[in-house]
Symmetry: C2
Subunit: 335 residues, 2 copies
């Protein structure tokens, strides 16, 4: 199969995106236990909590305690979700006072929707208002030396508005990039994407976002644009975040790989990710993604058995069966 | 996305493969109701029952009654599974005495495994013994004017033996073809396949089975082999039958489409398909496959809403929630 990247980087979002969607409050100690386990599976990046207001998401009101309690190897990059400047203030306060061999966290994520209606319903702002606020957050975070990702929800379709124009999504991506985001995540928030759309989307994205480059060998590879800033300044990573709402999550991931995407977000145990309607699947399971990549010979450096142990432990803690397929079936056994 | 076929043909296997795996006996009247519903969704082909010995699979012991009771439009091709010559005798007796505007069925399927151990455990024969028996079945069925498919289980891996050599699978395929099969189905019986493997497998298969041709436009397209027999005699269709055991079913289907496969088997409601271990997913859900194809612009002529109504009705009859994703989430709504 031509054009696949040699290796792929996965950010595990279960401790933030997954836990946030759990109806029962998970004890802080259990969250810390799971994050510590996840950080020893070979996963290079973990999104561990969020600095939204505690009244809005009580499940993540223990952000400070989680960051103080976890024991994560320095080579694992930790990110936290920041909704606005107040959230950034809280996060920076934690980082300044943090004691220990490594920083409390290394990266921040900010987010907005590509659809006005979805953004309004989610954060009660227009896209323009969100962008203005996030530009301020990104500017300050970069000054603090934090790596920054901007995540764009409903990048492949909106449950309220239907089609979302690719040009609108890419316009938002460029705004985030210009404000300092070194990575843009494109979220298929309600699982509307299909492989043909994903292929075309990333071909456009790599062609029209300065500093974004597909994996070498992928169909869409282009020469780096000449001039303007150092390579360091110009590089921006494009990340795919798929949901499995209609069972197409891994097919979309395959299409993204073929289009040159080397960075993915997913959630262990298939936790979280806007399960709408109730009972629907949200995020693709990290185990299923890692299983597919491993079988295809794409390197992730993640120990699938260790990752499955994390999902099994989450299943015990949450007291219900999780949706990940590989968790039930086990890894492929070639004897 | 280059190389996708314009249209795809799906055989619905739920009434045989799906029902067979149900622990409770489904009343014959309910089976007939579901088959009649399925036959009005635009599905071109249905596998409706099996002529295995009633003691072996009590669930399908009503094969005669089902075929006598259904009311299926003439343009829908019906197939039955035939394990051996005794099963063929029973099936032909039904066909001879069948009254009505259309034949009782149009096609037969025969099956064996590509792995000795799996074949032995499944039908208590060596592969060579199975082939000898099936060659006799195929010869007689062709004389009766029946269209014939040979299905090869564990084509992409065996839970007992691990890797299964592609050459061994293709050798069996050629034997079945030479014995009269006009279609070869390759089954990923326990969901061990991955997209890279699927891509390579079908490239080999199209290149080395006389009369097998990938969809025009697909990467692997080759010129028809010259000489020997009429086109009618030589053509053989290659069909992919994937399971979603590790969540990769639709990703494998995408890889098969890109390799030029235009024919798939799947099961409505995600019923059946060797769910091993217990609780694991078996067949890919027809609704999920149709949803993906529809969204990608590949024609199937299947009415997704009508198909979802069948799965919803099966859910009522079986009294449990079925696994199909699109059944829970509904079709993608672009407004």
């Amino acid at each position: 199969m031509a054009g696949l990247p040699e290796r792929v980087q996965i950010r595990e979002v279960g401790p933030r995106d997954g836990f946030q969607n759990e109806p029962e409050i998970i004890p802080t100690g259990k969250k810390i236990e799971l994050i510590d386990m996840l950080s020893r599976t070979g996963l290079p990046r973990l999104e561990v909590t969020s600095f939204v207001r505690p009244e809005v998401i009580p499940q993540l009101s223990d952000a400070e305690e989680v960051l103080a309690g976890i024991d994560v190897p320095a080579e694992v990059s930790l990110s936290v979700l920041i909704p606005n400047e107040r959230g950034l203030d809280r996060a920076l306060a934690v980082r300044e006072t943090h004691a220990g061999p490594r920083p409390a966290f290394d990266e921040i994520n900010v987010f907005l929707s590509a659809s006005e209606t979805h953004n309004r319903k989610n954060v009660n702002r227009s896209i323009e208002e969100s962008l203005a606020g996030l530009e301020a957050v990104l500017g300050r975070a970069r000054e603090e030396g934090l790596r920054c990702e901007g995540v764009i929800s409903t990048s492949f379709g909106c449950p309220y508005e239907g089609r979302v124009a690719v040009e609108r999504v890419l316009h938002i991506a460029r705004r985030l990039r210009d404000a300092g985001a070194q990575e843009i995540g494109f979220g298929d928030t309600t699982g509307m994407a299909n492989p043909v759309q994903v292929d075309e989307f990333f071909a456009h994205a790599f062609a029209s976002i300065d500093g974004a480059r597909p994996a070498s060998g992928a169909g869409g590879e282009t020469e780096p644009a000449p001039g303007g800033g150092s390579a360091e300044d110009r590089e921006v990573r494009l990340t795919a975040h798929f949901h499995n709402t209609r069972g197409q999550g891994l097919a979309n991931a395959l299409a993204a790989l073929q289009a040159g995407v080397e960075s993915f977000e997913s959630s262990f145990g298939e936790l979280g990710g806007c399960p709408v309607p109730a009972g629907a699947t949200g995020n693709i399971a990290t185990e299923d993604l890692v299983s597919m990549l491993r079988e295809m010979g794409v390197q992730t450096r993640i120990d699938l058995d260790a990752l499955l142990a994390c999902a099994r432990r989450a299943q015990e803690i949450l007291g219900r069966r999780l949706g990940s397929h590989t968790l039930v079936a086990g890894p492929v056994d070639w004897r």
